[in-house]
Subunit: 594 residues, 2 copies
């Protein structure tokens, strides 16, 4: 065993912070260093394996309350749905494989009961396969808290009948309920999924795959509450088209046998109820040990992930992050920062002075053939923070429309007015959304402004994008709006602008106009606009509207230069109707708004 | 007509640069401003339409030598291959549509013969449908040169029989040759494609689709010469698997009827020969007019795309770009910068003081199910520039391997040693390569360093990526290498390192080792390494090698901490065998090298 090459006992360094004075390999460390990691999934296991790669001699013990470490929690809904057929494929590592490769002492079914910070010990209870519990105190030089989060359960009668989906055991239970949860002990036929966030959608889709009749219930007045409503509405439409019932603005009041009762009194058939309304940091242990915990429940850490106790670190869903948008503490329960911060913890324990990057919050969900993704702040989040924002909606094709198989997407870019700083982006469509959101997320991390996106050089061949890639187009439009070339108004500002005297001019073709338009709009096709300017009032502001915003931009430019007042309805009829109507995504002619 | 609202003649401003003193709408402009644009495809049409959006009153004339403006030149190979079935879908705009929407005077079959800079006129010759030519002098206040580039044709006997593919007319000719180019006047059965760059590969694939027997001939000793050889080798293997013959290190010496003769004497059946060895800026007009032209043939422009004559701008393939990598002039014949710089031209003509971003050079080709992409500089390009580089190869899956349908890719990151500045990246695989190269291209534009990639937050769900996304993993590995944690050696350094006494240790499992390994390697599986360290020499450097580099990293860390000398073979057996063997891309277990 490698530890025996340093056979001395642990150095006594009590009361002295481990890391601040120390840089790797320069200052004596306790030898062997005893590290306990509580939580063996993303953050915890990243910390443990990184630490091993950095320090062969450390004695690393990983405590996992559940049956499994390093399991693929993001795959659980797809295992429930039968997309992932092999349960074993969710189990990325085992205690044995981690012992062989990383010399880790991984203990499953082992719960940390309490932390004695003065003695630097953790009280743990292990449960043997036969159920026999044993308790002991484990000493540490460094302690890593990565306990994750627990699902939030509404405190309503019968909630103990409800299921959630955070662990392999949860997936097993959910699959069992699907198989035998029907009134007759046969297959379940109906399900209510509470919460239409990212996980709720995945659960709903996968129960739908299992042929259950699914109702999605969401307290907010839209699905995917982190998104802005006009970006979420097409997702609700897609769910309904597929036969998933969507009920927003309501919640669960009671779970009964084979029925769920909503706060609005509706009784829904529900052989099973799955709750996916969010998670809460699992920080009871930290709080009981007197570590600083935020009012939201997250463990307070510094930029090296160190808690208020210099010998204790925290990472993952349980730890607060710093927001890259406003620098404030925030909770981001995502796998990527969890893994990344676990690595930061290991570096920090060894005095490498890492800096955890502030959090942006980038997320994606695939549902019923739609990709829906976001990064950073939504428009409503930015406005709630008191920021003056500039918003751009576009509806580009994922690749050149002249090449077969292109699909339309909708993108939204949220900028800080004045500076043009990118605050966030959202996207949905059938293909290529992930790529565009990743590019914008990278731009946010790097501090690019909206117009800088116009200068990106992205890989273009007609199968993959466009010479004016959707992200480049966002940058071009952002430049036009920020520079004042083209005033725009948002879909939610239209009614007020018209009440104030604005005249809505639909500049699409007469055929497009006939297929559907915003009530009360005039129709003057852009190609006739130069000749028909005299038809438009010079004393009232014009609101130009087209299908996606491109022709509207041209119309605004034209009108302004002829002395009229004009603004472009951002995102055109597509964005307006997504917010107001069925929001069906259809193929769209690429247009040039640059 | 809108021009009549400003009925005065053009202001006389001869001899005074238009733009430097002027900002939009602040200084009187010639009214109406007369702008001539030579070239009606990407850069030229972007300039013309942007100019119209900015200035209704300008008189904008676009001269296009060919039959078509704004055609989809990147789609031509796919029209030849029958992937794009409608010829009309390549024609994005017509003179009539551009007149209606943008009030542009677009003249096709109209060639600019000469420029009289003193008189500020262009001599043009238009050819009517019946072939009748007419010549005239057109006056300008601002002139835009966007003539594009011409294919390079090797000066060999019979080259006039060869075809190329730059225009719709070229595609028509190539399709005619496919249909009737056989020895009997029937369908062609064989083709030689000269040049295995991006376009050459597209042409070869599409003629292969048309059931021709295709030989790809490339003067360099690899296909895709802009890539490094180990990244290009799997592409050659894929071409050969599909039945396309690949001959590198040779060229064309003669074109005969139904045969091509190579410089090495080989005679190849060739009912048709297509030349795609590159393009040369079409700058004869500029040079004859006395404008400054670089020795490479590109028109010299400033950061606003202005030539050495302040009334003349240039953009697109004919204009030099400034390299973002070293600030030197460079030629980049790609659609994205062409469109972007056309827009810069329009802004500059109006005194808006735009700044053209320096060029990175991001390109992608899809061939036989492979996506092959690059951005920035290759390793060989960087080394040729005298830079000390750090290189990272990885072989990640495009999405979580536990979710169905994941495919392996190979990525390469080229960094400047010391600074860690990202110089370039390359990738190939069956899915998701475009996204990763776009993210790195964005990082290059934004000035991120290699390790910064580890802190990106990218959209993760198991269908789309990994909690440690391939790009994030590049950043983690870059950090390990740059920080000195893990010394690496490249595949092309291995032989010398072994000659110098290095011992190659393959740390994969015995089963993997048995399936293929680098000759002469020892096999000590990483999971046995701690126990078997005594078997390894302490006085000679160890070169750890695994499948993709992940276990090798762990082995190096382990060995170093036990006092041995060790380096990791970057990219492992996969990169080594790609460079030395058939380079078949197969499914790969995701591994953690963070």
């Amino acid at each position: 065993m490698p530890e025996t090459s340093s056979p001395t006992g642990p150095a006594e360094t009590a009361g002295r912070p481990l890391a601040p004075e120390r840089r790797e390999d320069q200052v004596p460390a306790p030898s062997p260093r005893r590290v306990i990691v509580i939580g063996g999934v993303a953050a915890g296991m990243s910390a443990a394996t990184r630490l091993r790669r950095l320090e062969e001699s450390a004695r690393i013990t990983v405590l996992e309350r559940g049956d499994h470490v390093s399991f693929a929690n993001c795959g659980l809904p797809y295992y429930v749905g039968g997309v992932i057929t092999e349960r074993d494929s969710l189990l990325l590592q085992t205690p044995a494989s981690l012992a062989a490769r990383f010399n880790l002492d991984v203990r499953v079914r082992t719960e940390a009961l309490s932390i004695d910070r003065a003695a630097r010990t953790v009280r743990v209870r292990s449960t043997a396969a036969d159920g026999t519990p044993t308790e002991e105190d484990l000493p540490y030089d460094a302690l890593v808290l990565a306990p994750g989060a627990r699902p939030v359960l509404p405190p309503v009668p019968g909630i103990e009948r409800a299921l959630s989906l955070r662990s392999v055991a949860d997936a097993d239970a959910l699959l069992a309920a699907v198989a035998t949860g029907g009134p007759d002990g046969g297959p379940a036929r109906s399900a209510v999924v509470l919460g239409a966030g990212f996980i709720g959608l995945e659960v709903a889709e996968n129960l739908h795959r299992r042929k259950l009749s699914v109702t999605l219930v969401e307290l907010a007045d839209q699905v995917l509450p982190p998104l802005d409503p006009e970006m979420a509405a097409p997702v609700a439409a897609r769910l309904r088209e597929a036969g998933i019932e969507v009920r927003t603005g309501t919640s669960l009041s009671r779970v009964e046998a084979h029925e769920a009762v909503l706060t609005d009194g509706t009784r829904l058939p529900a052989d099973l109820v799955v709750v996916a309304v969010g998670v809460r940091p699992d920080t009871a242990l930290a709080a009981e040990a007197g570590l600083e915990v935020d009012e939201r429940g997250g463990v307070v850490v510094d930029d090296e992930q160190r808690t208020s106790d210099p010998r204790i670190w925290a990472a993952g869903d349980a730890a607060l992050k710093r927001s890259a948008l406003d620098g404030e503490p925030t909770l981001i329960a995502l796998a990527q920062p969890a893994n990344r911060h676990g690595r930061v913890v290991a570096d920090s324990i060894l005095g490498r002075r890492p800096q955890a990057a502030p959090g942006i919050g980038t997320a994606i969900v695939g549902v019923l053939g739609l990709e829906v993704a976001m990064t950073g702040w939504s428009e409503k989040r930015a406005r709630a923070a008191g920021l003056d924002v500039v918003v751009v909606h576009t509806h580009p094709a994922d690749h050149a429309t002249y090449y077969p198989g292109s699909a339309s997407m909708s993108l939204k870019l949220v900028l800080e007015a004045g500076s043009g700083r990118i605050l966030g982006a959202q996207g949905l469509g059938e293909a290529g959304v992930d790529k565009r959101i990743d590019v914008v997320a990278t731009a946010i991390r790097a501090g690019l402004n909206g117009p800088d996106l116009a200068d990106l050089e992205l890989a273009y061949a007609p199968q993959y994008g466009a010479a004016k890639d959707p992200v480049i187009m966002l940058g071009l439009v952002a430049d036009n709006v920020l520079s004042g070339l083209t005033p725009t108004i948002q879909w939610h500002e239209l009614a007020q602008a018209r009440q104030a005297g604005g005249v809505l001019v639909d500049v699409r073709s007469t055929a497009e106009f006939a297929r559907g338009h915003i009530p009360g709009a005039l129709n003057v096709p852009v190609d006739e606009l130069r000749e028909r300017l005299a038809e438009l009032p010079r004393d009232r502001p014009l609101i130009m509207s087209c299908q996606v915003g491109a022709r509207g931009h041209l119309a605004v430019r034209l009108a302004l230069q002829h002395g009229l007042q004009a603004a472009n309805l951002d995102g055109g009829y597509r964005t307006w109707s997504a917010a107001h109507g069925p929001g069906v995504l259809g193929p769209e002619q690429g247009e040039d708004r640059a």
